[in-house]
Amino acid sequence: MNSSIPIQLLRLVVISLLHDPATLLADTAALAAEVKSKGWIVFPARTEKSDWDLFVMRPDGSERRNITNTPDANESYPLFSRDGKRLLFRRLARGENIDGNDYGRQGVPMVSKSDGTDAKALGGEGDLPWASWGPDGKEFACLSLKGVTFVDASTGKVTRTLKRNGFFQQLTWSPDGVWLSGVSNSFGAAWSVARMNALTGETNAVSTTDNCTPDWFPDSKRMIFANRHASDVALGKTGWTQMWMADADGKNPQLVYAEDGRHIYGGHVSPDGKYVLFTGNPQEDGDPANGGAPMALMRIADAPIIGGDSAVLRRLHPNAKSGPVLTLPKGWEPCWTFHEITFAK
């Protein structure tokens, strides 16, 4: 018994240091300096003209610039190709709100260089639904009522089709090309995060509490996703959405970030797998109908982190840290590349 007292004291000291505001501030500044030169983040955000454009910025939030400048249209759902040289996104009519459940099939699919220039439409309204880049950028995987389709990126022709097996939104092709992630209705929860073999169509659940916005780690073996707080769901409440990660076979689930009072969505892992971007908003679903949510960045190695007071969460996760978390500007569904974009003057 006595031997555990020094360990407990040491733990208290460590926790106090981790929660100390001055320490956290310094750690956050160090995190910003660490990521500043690691490529670019693209994200949709409201402009001063109140439309949604695509912006890029350094991962520390600096050098923010508008790369679409289309006051008569809204842009959303930007995805860098895996080599970071091209950008896939959707262009909507100015009056159309971005729908948190439907953004992957709204408007017209567009492709451009990663600096936003040379933009061209890849089809009409609703075409290439939930399109996701293949590993070599030569194909897209798409998801519709008809199934999962693989489309030649240069010709637009469907090369093969799989049954969708319950997948219904947020399709993402894994970096190694072997798997697809998505949200499925076939595992007993209305919104399960699941994995599909891109060759056979075979599926497995990754998490069956209400989940969404899955994304891949660069090794294609783990996934990150938003997970509704299971205890609240059991009580019939919607709960605050948290960021979790797990092996793609569903094993080893671990909390990444949670905060009472903010819904955490849109997790996107950095190309080296060391950091994660996400959005957090007091409004459900990231509030795309209004201004979007403040984005944030943290080290995966610092997980789990609990933000804010979150007394219940801290009791549930006594070893969680309080930071560092880098707060970034308002945006929605960010995407990160390490490719060095060169901008025309």
């Binding site: 209705n185 209305a190 919104w191 459900e284």
Partner: protein
Amino acid sequence: MRIRHFIALLFASLMFVACDKKPAAPDPQLSTRGTVEVTARLVEIPEGAIFKRDLYDYAGILKYEVTAVHRGSLAKGATIYIGHYNPWKPRAEAADKKMKDIGGSLREFRAGELHRMALETPMDEHYLGGIVDKYFGKREGQAFWAVWTNPAE
């Protein structure tokens, strides 16, 4: 006497009108939509199967016992499972940009009531979205998709 005559005349007129009243014409939406048309009793509403959620659309799976088959090859007395889009809404208000071709006159789902419905099958070929299925793992086969739902006599 005049009052008696007036009352008798009024009664006879009412009887004539009542006898002349034709049964309500069947809703053409039921006979022209979907591939199956049934009258079925809603067996139950499991806890948590229907709830109001503004931001997230979903389909709720409900259990029915078929009492009459108007179109299609179902058997009377069969137990079937039917997916209704956003079941917390009156059917006339359920259609939206994502699911345009659904509707009906049913205002609220109540256990034990009879519904006349036009259905599609399998549900998976007609609906893309979240499904709240309290019968998951307990039922076999694909659910039907409710296209049009009216209360039945």
